[in-house]
Symmetry: C4
Subunit: 187 residues, 4 copies
């Protein structure tokens, strides 16, 4: 399951790059015509990279999976698979209400699906398992959900602030989940 | 072989998403212009996800493969690889005879190929093997084939009913194959 | 290396499918407008499938690799990676001299690269190794090279005959390499 | 992590091939209309192949990874993921200042990211480890960085010379990293 998810995420990262098209001209400055697409790409690359990293860390300490977990994982991949669409819209139209709200919805879906996945994993792990210790109260997950919801609510008024919230979440998650790493090291 | 098939299926899922293009406008409602493509994508994502899930469960209890199995597997991948084409046509033209019939033919091909694959696997496993117990009389497989055939027959008259039949099959298969899971748990 | 090659080949197979676009109309018969692309796709799917199969069988009995093998493998992947281009040209222009000759050149490159790969592997395996027995005098490989060369030579005069030669080679290779299978079974 | 990186690199290689489109005509000579795209493809295929090769060799002797390594690896994948964009621009506009400078920047980013990755790995390996011996003074890495910087500086004046420098770096790296191979053989 890890290999399959890794495969899907690897492909999504590279589908994101398909949106980037070379400019018409042949001067280096012409690449700046594509700057909004490039920035949207960088944001999405980081976001998908964070999910890959957390997903990978999570499954390092998972002891068992069941049918429900597999569908929870597919559900997460579904939302992640909408990232290229959200990125393309954002890259083409820039920071406007529609694409920013759509991007926030996709990220909300991803965060919600990741929470469901961790819950479905917790349900089949014993109390006191490494997994339970690593997830803890999942503060980062809750903050992310709140930020995405706020970004969605703000998108009709100040879409730039929504983008700032996405960047805030990226910074929060940027480091790998040290909780998991700590538990793994102790083991 | 499992890794290769996982790879192909992962890529197919993400090729499906390539069909989704951002709308022209920059209002959130503009995404509704793409609703038939989005719905076709969701249907195909679930269908391919079901095949991945069943394929994965199946190969967990396979004990041996031979040359015939490898080609039966390639044959299944061939039909699955036509899913993006069927999805694109359905998404562009909507629920009309042509695309619905084509979609039914692709699904029929997938279901038929999956049946051939299980038969080729049964032929090289002993009576009473886990695999034989897990496949049993393959009732779900037969119902699916019947539904797809009915959907194809109905497509020139009431294509919406064909779509309903696809959804019925999806619901039937949605849960992972509990038979296999049960056998795996007993082992 | 096997995983990497499997990944590249899996992606190539699915890139081939990207060429297939849904027809304009919404009648089932409209799909026939795409028949030359569909046929080119089927041919290339089988060809790439054969390479995957043989490559996979070959590496099951490989005992060691070195730097030269890795580059011989990259060289094979290079030629295989040109298959989507050859297929697209053949699918768009039909059975004409240009695309048929280009397709023959790509297949010649693949066959030549596969021969180089087996030679680089033989060079680092001992006399009497499973690999040496399995490859033997490589009659199939030599016949394929001769057929592709003949197809290239015939393409300016009777391109349909070149296509027939491709199909002949496909039939020759269609079954997995029984020699390798026999050796693996004995081991 | 190796599997994930292999996956991303495999996909990048095949995304490169997506840029190659069949020519309009049906004569074999018509493919020459695409020669600048074909040459850009060959160059990038070799470059990405070299990174795959070195990355693969490197991780064969890595004993441990941490969070920092994972992000250093993502950073390398980010720069590699810009290769298709650079290749497309080079293939479309030919050897002009803009695309050549952009290509040099992408290669500089890749080389810099690879250096960071080796440094982050060295930081968590003991003195005298296989990894340390294999990397040594990283002369090839330093020469590559210097060549890319020179290629960038030369691009506004003699872009063909920049291309020549890329080819020089390719030749330097073409053989797999014998230092690593030697250490692996000794182990």
């Amino acid at each position: 399951m890890l290999a399959f998810s890794d495969g899907v995420i690897a492909i999504l990262i590279t589908i994101l790059v398909l949106e980037l098209r070379p400019p018409e001209g042949d001067h280096l400055a012409d690449i700046l015509d594509e700057r909004s697409k490039l920035l949207a790409y960088v944001l999405s690359f980081v976001m998908v990279g964070i999910y890959w990293n957390n997903h990978h860390h999570l499954f390092q300490i998972v002891e068992t999976v069941d049918g429900r977990t597999m569908w929870a994982n597919m559900h997460l991949l579904f939302w992640l698979s909408l990232m290229p669409l959200g990125t393309a819209w954002l890259g083409e139209q820039g920071v406007e209400t529609g694409p920013v709200a759509a991007y926030a919805i996709v990220l909300l879906g991803c965060a919600f699906a990741f929470t469901l996945l961790t819950l479905s994993l917790l349900a089949i792990h014993e109390t006191g398992s490494q997994l339970e210790q690593a997830i803890g109260d999942d503060r980062k997950g809750k903050v992310s959900l709140a930020c995405y919801a706020a970004a969605l609510a703000l998108s009709p008024f100040v879409p730039w602030l929504s983008i700032a919230l996405f960047v805030v979440v990226a910074i929060i998650w940027f480091l790998p989940d040290r909780r998991v790493e700590r538990v793994v090291e102790q083991a």
